[in-house]
Subunit: 321 residues, 2 copies
Amino acid sequence: MELPEFDEVIAFIEDGDDFLLTSHVNSDGDAIGACLALTRMLDGLDKKATIVLQDVPGEPYEFLEGFSSIMAAESVPVEATACVAVLDCPSLDRIGRIQDCLDEQTRILNIDHHAGNVHFGAVNLVSENVCSTSELLYHLAVAMGVPIDPALAEQLYTGILFDTGGFRYSLTKPTSMEAAAALVRLGARLDFVADRIYNNSSLASLKLIGRAIDSLELTAGGRVACLHLTRGDMRSGDPETAVNYGLKIRGVEVSMLLKEEAPEHYRVSLRSRERIDVRAVAARFGGGGHTRASGCNIDGTAESVRAALLEEVGRQLAAAA
Amino acid sequence: MELPEFDEVIAFIEDGDDFLLTSHVNSDGDAIGACLALTRMLDGLDKKATIVLQDVPGEPYEFLEGFSSIMAAESVPVEATACVAVLDCPSLDRIGRIQDCLDEQTRILNIDHHAGNVHFGAVNLVSENVCSTSELLYHLAVAMGVPIDPALAEQLYTGILFDTGGFRYSLTKPTSMEAAAALVRLGARLDFVADRIYNNSSLASLKLIGRAIDSLELTAGGRVACLHLTRGDMRSGDPETAVNYGLKIRGVEVSMLLKEEAPEHYRVSLRSRERIDVRAVAARFGGGGHTRASGCNIDGTAESVRAALLEEVGRQLAAAA
């Protein structure tokens, strides 16, 4: 893949010597993989790069080369930086407190694959035709002739694996798989990476999955799965992925997880399989997200929260029928 | 990929007009995908093919073109057949009752990717360098110039996805991913197939997963996970995949699931992450399988069965240390 913007990106990189790299708050596998990969690419060009993220990245990514050099917001150098690369981030407010490192002199390189990216950079490398920012960086590395060693291959592979849900989501493209194949040829350990990403739970978080499954009830003729975790359950963690288990049942179109964060206060996660817009459901309660994955907060008893959600979901089911 | 055996396979196919296709008992996604794919390839060459399997294939595969034409053992024509293709099967006894369709006149085409294949065919296309029989058929189709339409692409993709565990197992090769990418370009719906394979549980079987997780206990310093399903639990199904949840916990090297099939009679499933040979554990109790996935039957109380298994697993852990 060759994009016209590659030339501008290469010029941006050639102009700078010292880069600050960052990404969205609650950085995920693609954000972390991409930041580490661009650092390694810059290192190969004898450029200095520092990764600063608002949140401390999660343990599953510790195996990635360079992980220990990532700085979290507490240790952010507050003076503004001249060259900043923002990765995997549709708008600048999503980098959180790292905005303190920007001033009017700062030139921003914006590399991203999100549909709604608002092109906030001096240079913008944005394409929706890739599965992940890491895939975009792979194509850039190839176009630039940057050598891809096993460590860089594994950083890029991790981002691709994460954002495609293990090559399962519809945003996975043939190019995602071809890039992944090339990265495995270059030394990415596909089974090792998958094991770190998907088999890295604590006992407590797995037990919470079990409790969420125990609570699961089907309604609306088997089309809606409701899961529920009490305050007592939530003391051992916050199992975001538990909501996905509702969609494992055939026929279920919407899965909702009610998490009791405080008395009569619920945080709700919503997922849908194909047809139903759960962002519209979340929006009715002041929440947001994506068409197939969204969330909101609702006050009330378990029964009243559930009833209110089911009414909205029912509207969406009827609209899609 | 070009293998010297391709010429012999092509000659075998050219010589016949009417083929019986079969695979191993308890046919899985690769076996079913490969049988349907070879049928479609033969159909494109104006050859007749009938798929006969010992067991009725599972519902997740209903979406595959040609699925409804698969015959299960009850309806097997018992007269012997002249041309038989055995797919994804390391030895002939593994086709079960379908052996009744063979006699001394039968010529067998053996297409497989298992390490221990005993080359029982008149023609043997056997390679361990592919992830699945379906990948081997993809390379054969390309070598033969057989047109790959969306239905054939999806049959082959399903087999590759299944046998690589969604591109996660170590037997996944760059060629597996490249073949998958090509098949997606040819019309395989990667998200649809993944949804059918991985999100197609019944409520009852998901609830059993929940109960297995509830029963999970760690032992041997967090290196062994024990799960247990009682006879009461087992009345709602047989959740073979439940044992995998033990390995989702970081630090766990061996997961064991005890399923109480009758009073004081347990069927045991064993899985290991990387280093431990659970086939050796199963073998001590008269069972078998693979290094990382095996099983056996043991009589006794839950406590005695568990203790006996832990003793053997402890031996393997010590040997691997």
